[in-house]
Symmetry: D3
Subunit: 216 residues, 6 copies
């Protein structure tokens, strides 16, 4: 959502005009024009305001996707609850593995916001900048172990051609050591980023500029 007072909807339609003014405002505070949609942010509830403060403290900024949801506190809270349990809750998958799925799915869907954010997360959690690049460019070129390769193959097939997933695909995951409970988590993470990729693409959501240089 961009600041309501500033009517820039037309500018978004004309990339040529838009780029200059935008460059400036981004330089100023990096929080205008998070999406191409123009509607009023809501007032943060105390819980959400506190959560945003935690983000700033821990990550250095509030991820733009949260600001994009901040027009409606019910939606914002539901999104955060679902996401945090999925990505930070207990699981047979490590946090890095979950971020690798997020990144590979986002790459398949060519989602600018999510490739940026989850590519950074893979670089950060793995401590291996090249791995982050590989997963978002073509995970098949990465030197993955069998477990991680099977995991990403499943996630990307589920992304591109979900209707072709069958028992044989689940068997391949079991063969490299995943439990059925883990398969749920692989599916749930891949499915979730198929959702957020589409929300971001539909609204032209822009990632925080800080991601680009993180963990290089």
């Amino acid at each position: 959502m961009r600041k309501p007072a500033k009517s820039v909807a037309k500018n978004r339609g004309d990339p040529a005009k838009r780029s200059n003014t935008r460059a400036t405002s981004v330089a100023a505070d990096d929080d205008t024009e998070i999406t191409a949609l123009n509607f009023k942010p809501a007032k943060l509830t105390p819980e959400m305001a506190a959560y945003f403060d935690v983000c700033k403290e821990k990550v250095g900024f509030v991820p733009n996707v949260l600001k994009a949801f901040a027009f409606d506190m019910t939606k914002l809270e539901a999104f955060i609850a679902y996401r945090n349990d999925l990505m930070q809750g207990e699981s047979g998958l490590s946090k890095l593995e979950r971020e690798m799925i997020a990144a590979a799915v986002s790459a398949q869907n060519r989602c600018y916001y999510c490739i940026t954010a989850h590519g950074a997360a893979v670089r950060y959690l793995s401590g291996d900048p090249a791995l982050g690049e590989l997963v978002v460019m073509n995970y098949r070129a990465a030197r993955l172990n069998k477990r991680q390769r099977a995991m990403l193959d499943f996630a990307v097939k589920l992304t591109a051609e979900a209707w072709l997933i069958e028992e044989s695909d689940r068997k391949r995951l079991r063969k490299v050591g995943f439990k059925d409970r883990d398969i749920w988590d692989i599916a749930a993470v891949a499915a979730f980023y198929n959702m957020t990729n589409r929300l971001a693409s539909a609204t032209d959501m822009r990632p925080n500029s800080q991601y680009h240089a993180q963990a290089r």
Copy 2:
């Protein structure tokens, strides 16, 4: 999740063997083998137990997707919270329109569970059985008004080729009367069913048999 006592995982792998035994158990109580994954359901919290009772009362049964999530109360609650706000909360889109998006997206993804459930919902909410069929077979053949056609075109493009969505696509929605706030909701509903379609396909989730005959 199927009942843990009954080890039928192998049967799932061999469709030929599976079909007979399954036909019987479904006739019995229609709640075994909801997915191809084999792991323990959790005990419902009082809130969730109450919610399941409401489902039985209002719809006649607990949708299998909820039973599938019932292995973990945090996940179940987060899913229900997100879904209910999205599909039943206030919106510039009618409930029928939201179900039309769910059905068209699920058809694009050829998801058996979701086509079944949301095709039934479109039949029921519209009172027009043929409309339900049209939306899940090929929405382009339906006699839709311009608003609904633009809405489904956006949702299906977002499903099939999210990376091609641009300002011109959003403009087309505005031209038929959607506000930016409505565009968020179209995107959010389409995105959400891209998530559930994949969860269902990844786990071979089976719809409640009651959907088939509903609202014909």
Copy 3:
């Protein structure tokens, strides 16, 4: 073809206008506007008139595809001759199997007319309404035996990527028990519905409304 006296061609171009008037006329006698093409029906030959009477008696109505062909008796007769031999003649494939191929091919091609008609036929011939739904939603989710699964895999691959069919595909059919003569029939049925799907899609052919509620 719709009745020539009634110039509704323009209405077809504007779905919004069209829907109301159409709803009424369909309710009246269900035989207007079978296709989006506007040209004169021919007079039925005595043989064809008799055949239409048989249809009414046995099925309750004349399938719209036959009415659509009824502008030219040579074409109508040739179509019926080809179709009836294919679908009702002697074959190593049961009538249900041939209808399953028709339904799966039509689903792959997302053809409203043919999914409607052949989905109904599968429900009717199998006595299993859910099977009809499965075959038109995603046959891969159906609990098919190996023979029927191989048969539909071949038919759908032939539909989607005919140029990739090779000896190995035919071998797989032989391995589950099909004779070479049966392979011809699988191919011939799949090929035929690739024809009718396209005739129906090209002309916006509408199925008889009676199909929707059949054999649920």
Copy 4:
């Protein structure tokens, strides 16, 4: 169908072995191994025998597709009746235009038999060898007039993505002068070759070698 006495089915499975023996037999009489399927030809009815004689006289040979159908006289007759009315009957489309559709559709489906036969027909009927090549290589590169270009665009879209055909596609045909009756014929010809392409690909049907040098 190849000659029943000679059991060559196995050779078809191994291209390396097959090629040599085949080269010889083709040189001998060019009528063995018309398809990869091995089953007995039927005895031609007098009418069909006479029709085959006419072919030999007029074209110099019996097209292999007819020999392939010659295992069953009902099927052979039905195929010939449907095909001949379609391609030689009265129509707003010239015979060349109908062959151009056949060739462009077959190219889209990469069908060796049909590209060979209908490419030759376009070269012959147009007297323009390069036109035959253009239509089977990429009709978009041909210098077509607007009528023929619209006709092939419709036929190829119907072939590749039949589910996307809508009123606007039919309008484009009307705009360049096609009557609704002509649109039926464009659709019927394109649809028919989508059938024969698949029969040929499914059975590995081989074209008569004479086509290659025709009308160069």
Copy 5:
């Protein structure tokens, strides 16, 4: 590049008008309008003039792609140097095999210029006109030995979905006898024609008419 004096750019935009005038000029000397781009040819260097003379002597004409490059001597020389080493230099692949790759890749990309030129080359080098047709229509229908089949499968997969090539694909080549050095050449030839196909398609390059009748 067509002759600069003649401003035919507009005609290129309107195929209907264009075809007549073009037919004449082609008949006249077959070297106008080689591409849809209108800019001045350069003066040939003595080396290039000599090379063009060699072409005329050996092939009977200067391939249009060379004339298309003849607006800049550096580019022309670089193209010829790269191409001649690749296609005529020492290699574990025969010249016919290299042309088969060129033809199959060009067919996958539906490039009129390159299918024409390399189809002719395959016919000529193999002495088997039908082989030339098979490779450009659907190489999978050709009776290739295992080596050549694996070679074309690799080349066509590399053309259509380069990002899916992995070690298993290279292994398959090694298994039929290719050395690693040969794999480089297969890749280099397939890659090169992916370049020329696109240059030809981007500029609507027209093949010399002499190719059509060559080696039939």
Copy 6:
């Protein structure tokens, strides 16, 4: 090409084993295992040795693609000659624009080597790290001016569906100010990276690790 003495071909086949040993050798001198192909480098000619020295001086390293070509001096020289004229020669396109095309084409083809190298070049030449990311993630999300957007649309369409390029595509380029001579260059650059992408993917070519951190 990796160092001939060290037989690591088998390790390449097993990613799990490979990763460890590789990580070490890369850390050591970053020039082993440039491709998955195992064959002897040639001795550099004095000219090529000098060129490699220039690379080291100017870029800090010899791009791995050049080392990969260094098994044959004719091929290496031909590649460098073609590439340098194309990317550094006179043109209506700036060097940044040429690199933007290289990056967008490589992203479409999901080529790890080329996305890495040309993404870095775009970051460096533009002085805008985010632009480099945008072009390789989804150029449609970048705020490009009309000229650059049309240029990349053409290059990416040419990459993905070269056979659909027609006069209307060239017209769109002319409309935003490109001369026919520039259109050649856009096509030539896009075509060239369609070649190198495929060489890199076919051989699993690895980019120099220095690219990753460049110009962030």
